[in-house]
């Protein structure tokens, strides 16, 4: 059984990727999980400089989901390369770095630093963080902005580039197309949905930042729809995520059109999810007689079922 998938020039041994912001820098999980057994890990979002992020409370649970506004606390690109990358290499992890920027130049500069470093497999461009004003979503909500960021980063790196799209738009497929035109090797989606939870007793938002991003199983049906729309719109691979909790959910995204999937919130609920996912996918492939996991991608049949009623 062949679980490997391709994202541009990068081959992943399997389609299961740890989502940005939900797996620290990977090193936190190195004793618990064999990092080399994951398709890849995406790091927490990194700017050029270190950031302390928002104050706590930074998350609140919602029905079948959670809101977060971490505010991209992070150690900055250079310290990541110095402090974290060596261990990740030792552990055999395939590392995708989630790159943030307040300006196009910053995206390019961070991408350049990472391209020069040893052990970065690909770049995920975070143009979709809803939680800080200068965190890139101004690019991710404009087709021109998306095109410009991707083009600028394309010029400074030969690493595969994967812009991460926001679901907070009318037509997400048009952002996938803009990314493709600007030279992206793949797109990933969804980032979180901009949302708000109010404590009615204090009449204040429940998280310190006020607004936050909604993730988890609550959003999965919307994310699956969006992944399917992007799959239909572009030729480059689509990396899908949003509420994947088990192998069935991962398969659902792949059948909708995802070449690979990312797991975020579920990692909090079940830090040992990875082997369960692989086992579940293998079992499904066996039952349905698939030999390569890529054969599954986009196989959903959306045509209407015939009906004697013609309804």
């Amino acid at each position: 059984m062949d679980l490997s998938v391709r994202i541009g020039s990068l081959t992943l041994t399997n389609p299961l990727v740890a989502a940005s912001g939900c797996f620290g820098y990977g090193v936190e999980y190195a004793d618990l999980v064999d990092l080399s057994s994951l398709g890849a890990i995406v790091t927490k979002g990194l700017f050029l400089e270190a950031r302390e992020g928002h104050r706590a409370p930074r998350i609140v649970e919602t029905p079948a989901g959670m809101l977060n506004a971490i505010g991209l606390q992070g150690i900055g690109a250079r310290r990541f390369v110095e402090d974290k990358l060596p261990e990740l290499r030792t552990r055999g992890a395939t590392v995708i770095v989630n790159v943030c920027g307040t300006t196009i130049d910053e995206y390019a500069e961070v991408s350049r630093i990472l391209s020069d470093a040893e052990g970065v497999a690909a770049i995920e461009l975070n143009i979709s963080c809803p939680n800080i004003k200068e965190g890139g979503i101004q690019f991710g909500c404009s087709l021109d902005g998306t095109f410009d960021v991707v083009s600028a980063v394309r010029k400074v790196t030969r690493l595969p580039i994967m812009p991460k799209l926001t679901p907070n738009v009318t037509d997400v497929a048009s952002f996938a197309r803009a990314s493709e035109q600007a030279g992206a090797d793949a797109v990933s989606l969804v980032n979180t949905f901009l949302a708000m939870v109010i404590d009615v007793e204090t009449r204040r938002p429940k998280i310190a930042n006020g607004l936050g991003g909604l993730s988890g199983p609550a959003i999965r049906p919307i994310a699956v729809r969006m992944v399917h729309e992007c799959y239909e719109a572009v030729k480059i691979p689509v990396v899908g995520m949003g509420g994947i909790m088990n192998a069935r959910d991962a398969l659902e995204f792949m059948i909708a059109g995802a070449a690979a999937v990312q797991i975020g919130t579920a990692n909090f609920v079940d830090p040992l999810i990875w082997t369960k996912l692989t086992d579940g996918i293998r079992d499904y492939m066996q039952r349905h007689q698939f030999t390569r996991v890529t054969e599954l991608v986009g196989t959903v049949q959306t045509g209407p079922v015939e009906s004697p009623t013609g309804a």
Binding site: E28, I59, P217, V269
Partner: protein, 270 residues
Amino acid sequence: MPFDVAADVMANTRLSADYNVLALSAPAIAAAATPGQFVMVKAASGDDPLLRRPFSVFEVLRDAAGAPAGLSLLNKRIGPSTELLYRAQPGDTVACFGPLGRPFTVADRSAQAWMVAGGVGLAPFATLADALGARSVSTTLFYGARSRAELFYLDFFRRLGVELVLTTEDGSLGERGRIIAPLDRRLAAHAPHAPLMVYACGPEGMLAACAKTAARYGRPCEVSVERIMGCGMGGCYSCVVPMRNDRGSFHHVRSCIAGPVLPADQILWE
């Protein structure tokens, strides 16, 4: 290294209308846990509530041969997850992941140990008292609650030879008022050169007061902080506490891996 266990409920002992002690079968976690560590627990089978919740390891339970067989949680019912833990019955299973976090520094015999607990903040002190007892450290528990009915396990601590200083808000047992008052008096009376370690767990306001009071008397103090935790593993950056740094500024540390036990004097209390 933490373990993930689908733990069978061994017993559920109701202590009051809101408190219970839930015994879970989890030998691997019980064998590895040290005082002040916690577990991430999920009782719901579906996606609501979604996330696990952090709970201190209350007791390490042992089988007839004395080997660790399980652990108990001291649970206070305040929302959906704690409600499920309050209602759990033998026959149910609870997902339990741990032990996690940085434990208390167990004082050695040269020092006295003062544990300061507010309400459910008692939870980490049963195992700490055990560990201190094993080192023959002279130990006092300062323990405050709303009323007599919410002061639990007093005999347990007495049996370990722990001195008890109790307060209740309604005066139904011990001194009326908050626990900081007797702590302050005792600190004032304590011989300046006799080594002493203060440990605290409870509501944020109590921890801040305790930290301030200990600092005023120049006593080292470790507090177990309570932040909303998404993962317990350092993965989500939800649980941060602002800590002073050398440059007169602060940085956010993840209390699930740098804590939950933190040196009180480095926390930037809000």
